[in-house]
Amino acid sequence: MTEDTIFALASAPGKSGVAVIRISGPNAFDGSSKLCKLPKAGQHRLRNIFALDGILLDQALVLAFPEGSSFTGEEVVELQTHGSPAVVSAVLSSLDQIDGFRPAEAGEFTRRALSNGRLNLSQVEGLADLLEAETEHQRKIALRVFSGEFSELADTWRIKLIRSRALIEATLDFSDEEVPVDVMPEVRELVGSVRGQIEEVLSFSGMSEQVKNGFEVAIVGPPNAGKSSLINAITGRMVAIVSDQAGTTRDILEVKYDLEGIPITLFDTAGIRESVDTVEKLGVELAISRAENADLRIFLRSDPADEINIQNQDGDLEYLSKGDLFPDKARISAKTGKGLDLLLTDLRSALASRIPPSVTTIRSRQQGALRKALGSLDLIEGIQDPEIIAIEIQNAVNKLSFAIGVHCIESVLDDVFSSFCIGK
């Protein structure tokens, strides 16, 4: 019997020092080796994790548990990555693209552990409490998903998919009655509109690739405006995702942070100054162009008259530094921390306004479900047989059940009987 290989974030969601991603199932070793070189079964190693297209996602501690000696009793791979939502989300969506892999349902690891006899009574008791917490957590997530625009959208999908299936079933189950003969144009229109909307939601989350990878925030200003000090001060207040890392040039100091759920890459363009050295000049040009292309710039001056040869763009922030030396209230100080809270609040709200509202409620697991539902709906394009189209619609509904609930055949029949006069 073949089971799917399942995966999920096993540690608490949200930012944390380390995130544990667990993969379990018959295909766990084979599949995971597409993202990183696995250590020998029973061992652990530090490995680079790559997306399927070869992009480096993170460095992680990788543990491989052979079948029979893992939590679930199946082959298990654990990835201990940096605990940033962006990294976790990127790794999860890479896993979702591996053949035979799917996100775990609530409590599914536990269920498998139970089925394989890996737990004893007291463990089961303990897990029941845990599960209760998990269900509660799921409920909260569901509530979040169901509030607002997405819920309304999902509701229209539900109605349209039920309707399209009802049209098909009317022609199949009641073909000897007075029902319309060719319902396919309407079915295709309904399915097409749901497809379009799912694509739109996914494209928001495509936009959230940027959210995932972080907003680039450049700190620009003349030398000695206090840019490095500012970064260091901010570092003290936030969790760094990746410790100080050399930038694309030696002159750009780049640090990744989680700004209350919004990942940002903060960099200092220390190198913006006149230079005669050709190599350094190239570096400076690069730094300027990167600052100009950043999502947001923080202009930092110690003297309001300072010239900065980088264009101020809509939404950029400006501050005067060295508040510890000058008495005016408006200045911030990296040294005393004066005004830093305000700066971070400004920064967060400036960035938050750029995130489409639905993105925050579509989690990677749900994105996976949307993509699979879309896959089923896409297939319908090329299918003529109504009974097969009905199956693909049902497949899509099953995948979307997190958003629109499972509907059984009764709701389809309700629609048939209220639309058509059945009963010859």
Partner: protein
Amino acid sequence: MKQSEFDTVVVGAGHAGCEAAFAAARMGCKTALVSLKVTDIGTLSCNPAMGGLGKGHLVKEIDALDGVMGRLSDLSGIQFRLLNRRKGPAVRGPRAQIDRALYKRNAVNFLQVQENLSFLEGEVVDLIQSNHSVRGIRLADGSEIRAPKTILTTGTFLKGIIHIGDRSMEAGRLGDKASVRLGDRLRDYGLSFGRLKTGTPPRLNSNTINWNILEMQPGDADPAMLSFMNRAPVVDQVSCGITHTNEKTHSIIRDNLDRSAMYGGMIDGVGPRYCPSIEDKVVRFAEKESHQIFLEPEGLTSQTVYPNGISTSLPEEVQFDYVRSIVGLEDVEILQPGYAVEYDYVDPRGLNRDLSLRDIEGLHLAGQINGTTGYEEAAAQGLVAGLACAAWVQGKAPLGLDRRNSYIGVMIDDLIVRGVSEPYRMFTSRAENRLLLRSDNADQRLTPLGRKAGCVEERRWRAFSEKARQIDGINEILSNLSVSPQAALKAGITVAKDGKKRTGRELLAFPDVGLSELTKVAPDLCGFPAQITEQAENDAVYLHYIERQEKHNTSLQSDYAVKIPEAFDYNVVPGLSGELTEKLTKARPGSLGEMSNIEGITPAAMTAVLLQIKRNSIKDAV
């Protein structure tokens, strides 16, 4: 006091009762079939047709288990049509117009030659009860028929009331007595009841219909039979007429709505939405200017015509007026007015999978009494109950029918897990595995199971084995075939020139490729009978989808197979909402798979229940 002993006693000789009694007898059980009179056997009390969409699947499945409905229909069929003939094989449904009198006569003939089966005439007034079990029945004359297993198939007889306009009378069907006492007994068992209704149209005199001006619908040129054992009709074939209601009909009905039993507030029962009365149609679909009516002859020698589509509970004189407003029926004579029947049904959620009661031993309920409608639905339940009783008497394992292998399994599952809110009828859309559960492969799916259970007799088993041998033969040729794109193109089959060799099965899966195209690359495919090649083609149509669905099914299997104990207490499951607890306590699913079919069940709820089951079992073991 007269007393007789049987293994199984079946009360009621309608389609549920017949199929139950014949099934138990085929298994070798000494069986009694009890009804008021022998002419009750196999009565088609509603429309004179058998099979159709979804229902045709049920008949073929009953037939695959060697039941009588398919064979009786073929012997008595006066018109055969394969519905959805031009659509995919999964949704094709064979249907036959039936000569009512012939059907009854053939049923009596079957009865006479069926070993182990006795027909007893009598009015059943009560059950023989001892402790918590039923031990047979008591008749009005005081005599007793004792048996360890009793099957009640009393149809609409529980508190049945007939309505014709503002007149109503206590009865099941016209001319029969209601079984009030039996109903009281069932109430004592703590079963819950609901109330349903159904309607019939006025019956018309064929000689007074102006057939010449009506559109006629003949049967198929190439009739599809309802039994795997038959190839062609045996009696003369007829056409049905088609006519329509019109504005005048509708206005007569509208003007008299308050005199309709259904609209006058005389009826509380819930009627089937797929079989509305003409009053309902006129009110609910007011924008429709006309409704289609099929004029179905009730037999070759009968002068009665069943006008399908105008069931009613209006007073007789209104029926007379509106019927005569219809084209072709201007001078028609009504032989029997239409009427509505209201009756009690037992909430089937109180039954086990074999349709036995939960708390009383030895009693099974089958057919319309469980909230279903239709001869086929009733017969399928009768079969399930009959086979279960015989298996119990003989100490054998019950036949394993479930949602994955049969429409019968789908229906039983729907009834006992979800219950009914209107008369339950089978639709192909109820079967999740519709592509697998075709009417043409019902024998492949079920005959071996039936043989193992002991209900398939030698004659059918031989015929089936021969067919299975040929299907294996054709499948072997198809899967061993390896055709290059060049060879395929040469034979006129359009494939991509990708250098990939394809099996015969893969080629058949292409639209527009049939077995005849394949014979050019594989001459040994010639010579198979039509029914064999047709099934090979049908199997291939859904090849990819069936593979995917099977994969999906296996991936669900391990969790879904987990049984939920009868006495499982949902109240103690942590994390289960009050609403779900209540729902599950009522539905009492037998396994996690059944549980997953209940609306509103989440994966988390399933895990919570699984955990509790494990916890209980570990505690029990300690």
